[in-house]
């Protein structure tokens, strides 16, 4: 066995502490009058509607249109993708075919302070028909619509003249769209084509030559956020008719306003008790297991909050917490299996290093197989209930974010278990056993050497 240097323990320990501190409290600064978030902490997590309450709205077709069931299904599907596009995964959609109503519920956004539910609702209800029109008038000839677009994406483009780099929305046409675009651009050489989202003019470029590459970009004063939002809107597709908001309101948190506080308290109580239990049962390996557990939790929190500001926060729901608790159980379990093994080995009277080596080696297959089977479950749930929707041919496109959240936290938890509960904890154990005062076998649960 390669010897692990003594300082390794402290390096890993400090790294975990730093990770825990930043993932829980975040890193914030001030830039003049503005508060700046560098790293997102627990307070930046977006809580699900079942924990923190949210918005409820009832939509109806505008102008008394009598929608049939397929149209309502289409509307529901598009609303689904729009919500997911806004990174709202914990939502509920109840279509009412009899009265042509759709009820939607979704939670508050994580940046609640400047969150405008009116705007979000309006955005959901908009038809969002993308169109390319000849000339710059909204009454111009429609050349292409959103249906001709295969994929839209936000990207960053260097300006071709002296202008600075800017965010743009790239479009990839399908075969039909490619043909249409080629015909349109050859008809309009030297003239302007305008790109519209409903009644809003996005840009009106002048055609220099016929384009047959099957792709186009929409320029405009986009930020990273607005470009992504537009791309999502185009990808989600247009509604068959305009929706009006019949009523909307807030949902008081179904768990009571102090649910989050209660959850925080229970997390601290649970960690303290687990720490005490592990120390009593397994002494030094128990202590190290606890540090690893903190590290594992930190990674899970990071994965939920997004950690870096460029990643949006994941929606945390009760099933998400269930997944987290299960992964804590798995993480502690990995350490318990190893510590028990080391104990077993110590009773055979081998040397400490040999015992640690055999113990960690012997316990790996159990941890590996247990975690992999749980990963199988997590991945299936993510595939079925997440955006991938592998069963959509059977059940239609729908995303039930609650179960998706479970799969997500579980998968993240199990992966961080391999990083922390297995790799980091073993590094720390082997490094710590290099210190003379930590070489007493009693500290590992064996008889005194």
């Amino acid at each position: 066995m390669k010897k692990i240097g003594k300082p390794v323990f402290f390096i890993v320990f400090v790294l975990i502490l730093a990770l825990a501190y930043t993932s829980i409290f975040g890193v914030y600064g001030e830039n003049g009058d503005f508060d700046v978030t560098y790293i997102k902490g627990i307070n930046d997590i977006r809580w699900g509607i079942d924990i923190n309450g949210g918005v409820e709205a009832v939509f109806a077709p505008a102008d008394g249109i009598d929608a049939d069931e397929t149209q309502m299904e289409d509307v529901k599907g598009i609303l689904d993708s729009r919500l997911v596009g806004q990174n709202i995964t914990d939502y509920e959609v109840y279509p009412d075919y009899e009265h042509d109503r759709i009820t939607i519920r979704f939670p508050w956004k994580s940046d609640e302070k400047d969150y405008d539910p009116d705007a979000a609702i309006a955005e959901l209800a908009s038809t969002s028909e993308l169109s390319f029109k000849g000339g710059t008038e909204s009454s111009g000839e429609v050349l292409l619509t959103g249906k001709d677009v295969k994929r839209a994406y936000a990207t960053y483009q260097q300006g071709n003249t002296s202008s600075a780099a800017q965010y743009v929305v790239g479009l990839e046409f399908n075969d039909e769209g490619k043909e249409k675009f080629k015909t349109a651009t050859s008809n309009y050489v030297g003239q302007q084509i305008s790109i519209w989202m409903d009644d809003e003019l996005l840009s009106a470029p002048t055609v220099n030559e016929a384009i047959d590459s099957g792709s186009a970009v929409i320029t405009g004063n986009f930020t990273s956020k607005s470009a992504t939002a537009l791309a999502n809107k185009i990808n989600a597709g247009a509604l068959p008719f305009k929706l009006v908001v019949e009523s909307y309101g807030t949902i008081s948190p179904s768990l009571g306003s102090n649910a989050l506080q209660a959850m925080g308290i229970s997390a601290i109580v649970a960690l303290a008790l687990i720490c005490a239990f592990m120390l009593i049962m397994y002494r030094l390996p128990g202590f190290i297991a606890f540090i690893a557990l903190i590290g594992q939790l930190s990674i899970s929190i990071m994965a939920v909050s997004g950690y870096f500001t460029i990643f949006p926060s994941f929606t945390m729901t009760i099933p998400g917490i269930a997944g987290l608790i299960l992964s804590i159980g798995m993480g502690v379990d990995a350490n318990i299996i190893t510590a028990e093994r080391i104990k077993d080995e110590l009773w055979t009277g081998k040397t400490l290093d040999g015992c640690i080596r055999n113990g960690t080696k012997g316990s790996f297959s159990a941890i590996f197989d247990g975690n992999i089977t749980v990963i199988i479950v997590a991945v299936i749930l993510i595939l079925v209930f997440g955006p991938a929707n592998i069963l959509s041919s059977l059940f239609g496109v729908s995303t039930t974010g609650l179960i998706y959240a479970f799969g997500y936290t579980l998968l993240v938890g199990v992966i961080s278990n391999f990083i922390m509960g297995v790799a980091a904890s073993r590094l720390m154990l082997r490094s710590a056993s290099g210190y003379k005062f930590l070489r007493n076998k009693k500290l590992y649960g064996g008889a005194k050497s």
Partner: protein
Amino acid sequence: MMRQKFHIDFVKKSKIFFCISLGIMLVCLILNLVLLPTIVDIQFTGGTIIKYNFGGEPAHTAVEKTVKDTLKGIDALKNEKVDFSYSENLAASSNDDTKHIISLQFTGNKAVSIEHKQAITDALQKEYPDNSFAEESSTAVDASKGANFFLKCIIAVIIAAVLMIFYVAIRFRKIGGLSAGVMAVVALIHDLIIVYFTFVIFRMPLNDNFIAVVLMILGYSLNDTIVIYDRVRENRRKSGPKTTTAELVNSSLNQCFTRTICTSITTIIAIGSVLVVSLIYGISSIISFALPMMIGLISGSYSSLCIAAPLWVLWKNHQAKVKAEKKKNGTSKKSKKEKKNTNDTKKAVSAEKEEDTSSED
């Protein structure tokens, strides 16, 4: 060999364990059928949500009583269960008549007719003339959506279970992985039934929380069983050919016993803290998630030790018995088999050993 603190004969006692489990299930089933019908959330049953807006601050309990009293007077809705929830209309200013909203949730497939709705509205308006109750919306919730979701969950679980059996069959092929995987799934089903009955006995509606708990227990129980199988696999490698399956599994279970208990304790500590704190704060929907999870957890640990592994021993012994009988019946087959045995000594040894077990029986 291994330090072994416990000497519990799990295999010999397995009949008792099976009886305990089946007994509990039977009692729960009878209770479920006779006294405590399953409560299902509106999402899965379908139903009607009626919303009223009102101004001012009438006591919620009084309003609920008025609605319930009205329902008692209507034959068709006499036995309907109604749930209440409250919210605020953001668009309305604070002293608007439409500021507050009460939702009445009728679970059950019977739609609430217009006359009955009118009766409720009349009663509310008569009782609270100053609060100007007005029907804001009434929505029928389609049960098929909920049923669809439920079905989707079941199919997802089945896919996961099949893949899991497949994985166990490959990783544990040395000890006959396919049967081990199937027994792990049997233990899972055992736990899921226990979780279901927990919801029934504690009068909690089957909703999203139920699905979350079921999935969590599925993962936990699975991991627990795999850890035990891993020890069996390892001991099979180490032990001599004379060790019977029963002995093998027993010693493995006892070696894993401390670990199983300690892991359960830490996980129970985690959920127990959530449960206790939410009991203190009175947050009922967390209670309806933490309590069944805790019971499912205990069931998960129990089923790995006392159901999956002993059941697997029974199956292995049964297999050996069938093999032995086949052997007795045809001598030609026997010679063929012996030929095969010489080719694969390892297999022969284990087959011989299993036959020993069956002859002891």
